[in-house]
């Protein structure tokens, strides 16, 4: 860690800086901000997918027919710190079955199917009343056990992130409220309606990682948000929490871009904000932390924006994880005429879902229904004309046109050198490409291919080591056997010599005797 950079990062938010590229997009956020957040009523059935984050599926902790209380753990992830999945309501597990999962693959995944008993009763809750006197390690444990993940979209387990951060030493916690993707307004509504919970969560997170101060980054267009958060900070009486307004440019809410705006420092390739002594968390994650610690409630619900021209009454809903998306659409007045595409996530980074029977997952920040008019008519892809627009808007300062070339031709070493791993898949290059090349699709494919290639290389390496170990073992065995045979021969040879000597002595003795005689 470079100390002078860390020290420079301590001034995060004092002066605003720029990041490379980006786009100013139409926000389309207002349509979903007209009414307060509504809670979704109990569903007839919940489908809690066992796969919610990167890595392997969670292992189910419940059996078919078992009764569970709201908040009981129903699954445990074998990787990444071993987080948990919890029951969204009380009821009976009717099956652990395959069901279409909300995942870009469109594949089915194992889901815990829960039939609510209608009582919505919590299991025993264990809140930490005196969180200010609690050991930070215990706070981190609580965060992990509550199954909290980054709710900004990456769904990386917060317990792991916070654990690593506390080891590295963090001076500033950055709460990311810069929700820059068009249409999505779940964080904005959260900051308007629950500012106290956010500030409370920020203070808990600050203690859990040992940070000195917190910077809450919001967009300059969120007027009401600034007022509500400022009020909440005053009410809490906490020192060292500031609000910084950043200019709305997509993708400013990206972790690396936000850090660059706040500090003027670039996070090196392959690095993380922790390299600069910073930790970024989404505002919704902070509320989940507050609930987990002060109320003992695990992460079983989140605010989802249901919006788009294909929805009759766009709004934000507080939905349980596992609720079928169709329920949310119904609550928003159903589909408007001309609804053509169901997208999970925003228009830039989201992916299309095949059906609205898919469940809400922890990563689901937005359900966007586009109409036929919204969807750009699929224009034929044209050859790249090297205009360089993509490179101009790339926030990661990559060369998308070169990457496109090398991925198409399978030049993987070159692709790696061009920094494909740094692509955040924001879609800016796609958006501006005059030839309508689906660049991000290619980059996602390229990342997948590189991953496979690396796995194969690793496998080849272990196979080579095992082969060489076996060869040397066989060689040693051969050598040993040879030595043994040689030894035996020598021993045999010795025996022969002895015999001969004895025989010779006898001979001599006989000869001597004969001579005497």
């Amino acid at each position: 860690m470079q100390t002078h950079l860390v020290n420079e990062a301590r001034h995060a938010g004092e002066r605003l800086h720029h990041f490379h590229g980006g786009l100013r997009l139409r926000h389309n956020k207002k349509i979903s901000c007209q009414v307060p957040v509504e809670k979704t009523p109990l569903a007839i059935r919940y489908f809690v997918p066992l796969r919610q984050q990167t890595g392997r599926e969670a292992e189910p902790l419940v059996r078919t027919g078992q009764s569970v209380m709201k908040g009981d753990p129903v699954g445990r992830f074998p990787q990444l710190g071993g987080g948990y999945l919890h029951a969204p309501t009380s009821g009976r597990v009717t099956a652990i079955a395959r069901h279409p999962n909300s995942h870009p693959s469109g594949e089915e995944g194992l889901c815990v199917v829960l039939k609510p008993d209608g009582l919505d009763r919590w299991g025993p809750l264990e809140p930490l009343t005196d969180w200010e006197g609690t050991d930070p390690g215990l706070l981190r444990q609580k965060i992990r056990d509550a199954g909290i993940v980054g709710l900004g979209g990456a769904v990386f387990p917060t317990g792991v992130k916070v654990g690593e951060a506390s080891e590295r030493g963090i001076h500033t916690l950055i709460l990311n409220g810069a929700e820059c993707e068009p249409y999505i307004s779940c964080d904005e509504m959260l900051m308007r309606e629950q500012p106290d919970t956010i500030i409370h969560g920020a203070r808990i997170l600050q203690r859990a990682i040992g940070a000195e101060r917190t910077v809450i980054a919001i967009e300059d267009q969120m007027g009401a948000v600034n007022a509500s958060l400022t009020g909440a900070i005053k009410r809490s009486g906490a020192a060292g929490i500031e609000i910084v307004k950043v200019t709305t440019i997509y993708p400013e809410g990206g972790e690396k871009q936000l850090v660059q705006v706040l500090t003027g420092l670039e996070i090196p390739a392959g690095g993380r904000p922790t390299d600069l002594g910073l930790l970024c968390q989404n505002v919704a994650t902070a509320t989940a932390v507050a609930r987990a610690v002060s109320e003992g409630k695990p992460l079983i619900e989140r605010i989802v924006t249901v919006t788009g021209n294909g929805i009759r009454k766009p709004r934000n809903l507080l939905a349980q994880i596992g609720t079928p998306i169709a329920n949310l659409v119904d609550q928003c007045g159903g589909y408007a005429p001309g609804a053509a595409r169901l997208v999970l996530g925003g228009p830039m980074m989201g992916y299309a879902l095949a059906s609205d029977s898919n469940p809400v997952i922890k990563a689901a920040n937005c359900i966007l229904v586009l109409t036929e008019d919204d969807i750009r008519p699929p224009q034929p892809e044209m050859p790249c004309i090297r205009c360089g627009e993509c490179a101009r808007v790339c926030p990661a300062m990559l060369l998308p046109q070169q990457l496109n070339w090398s991925i198409r031709n399978g030049l993987w070493d070159e692709t790696t050198d061009l920094g494909l791993a740094e692509c955040i898949e924001c879609g800016c290059c796609d958006f501006v490409c005059p030839s309508h090349i689906p660049l991000v699709e290619w980059f996602r494919f390229g990342k997948s291919e590189l991953q496979i290639l690396n796995a194969e290389r690793q496998q080849a390496e272990t196979a080579r080591m095992r082969f060489e170990a076996r060869e040397s073992r066989l060689e040693n065995l051969k050598l040993e056997r040879k030595q043994r045979i040689a030894q035996k021969k020598r021993a045999l040879g010795d025996a022969n010599e002895k015999q001969e000597k004895i025989a010779a002595a006898i001979e001599r003795a006989r000869a001597g005797k004969g001579g005497e005689n």
Partner: protein
């Protein structure tokens, strides 16, 4: 005149000694080309190239005895990488050595296995576990899918099974779209 000759001679001797010392001091034990070739080979150790393992094949290529198109598991991409490294023309896979197959792992039908250890002796990467008259089993993560355990099995209880894909191994598909002409240096796609 004389000074010049003496100076040049002295310098010659001096550099000669220096080079001689350096060649001893910085001697490279293995042939670096062999290493590089071996790194490209898939390490399946299947012997389809007619050499007893990937390293012997790499050595043979380095000596110029073997062609670069004898490795079916490496496939076309392996041949291309070898051609790039050695500066030769890429050639199609030699059909005499077999054809590229999807990755598979050996699975022992444990009910039929008689515990003869023949497959254990045949496995080039020690991926089969077992003992005499005990059940044998394949360590799936170590199996390279080389097929070498199939012929020695007296009861034919080993089967090659294509590796099932775990849900977390899902990858983004290749978008529909033209591949740019390969082998041509990066020139603007539209300018041809």
């Amino acid at each position: 005149m004389l000074t010049a000759i003496i100076t040049i001679t002295l310098l010659g001797v001096l550099f000669g000694l220096g080079l001689g010392w350096a060649s001893g001091k910085f001697r490279v034990e293995a042939d670096p080309v062999t290493e590089q070739i071996n790194d490209i080979l898939p390490q399946t150790q299947c012997g389809q190239c007619n050499y007893p393992g990937c390293r012997p094949y790499a050595e043979a290529i380095a000596r110029g005895e073997a062609g670069i198109n004898q490795c079916p598991p490496g496939g076309e991409s392996g041949i291309r990488a070898l051609a790039d490294l050695l500066g030769v023309e890429a050639v199609p896979l030699n059909p005499e050595n077999g054809e590229q197959k999807p990755k598979a792992v050996a699975v022992i039908d444990e009910a039929i296995c008689i515990g003869c250890t023949l497959c254990i002796q045949a496995c080039p990467v020690d991926a089969i576990l077992g003992a005499t008259r005990q059940m044998h089993t394949v360590i799936e993560s170590e199996c390279t899918g080389c097929d070498l355990c199939l012929p020695p099995c007296p009861v034919d209880c080993i089967e090659m099974v294509e590796k099932p894909r775990a849900p977390e191994e899902w990858t983004w598909p290749r978008p529909p779209g033209q591949k740019s002409p390969a082998g041509i240096p990066a020139v603007p796609e539209g300018s041809q």
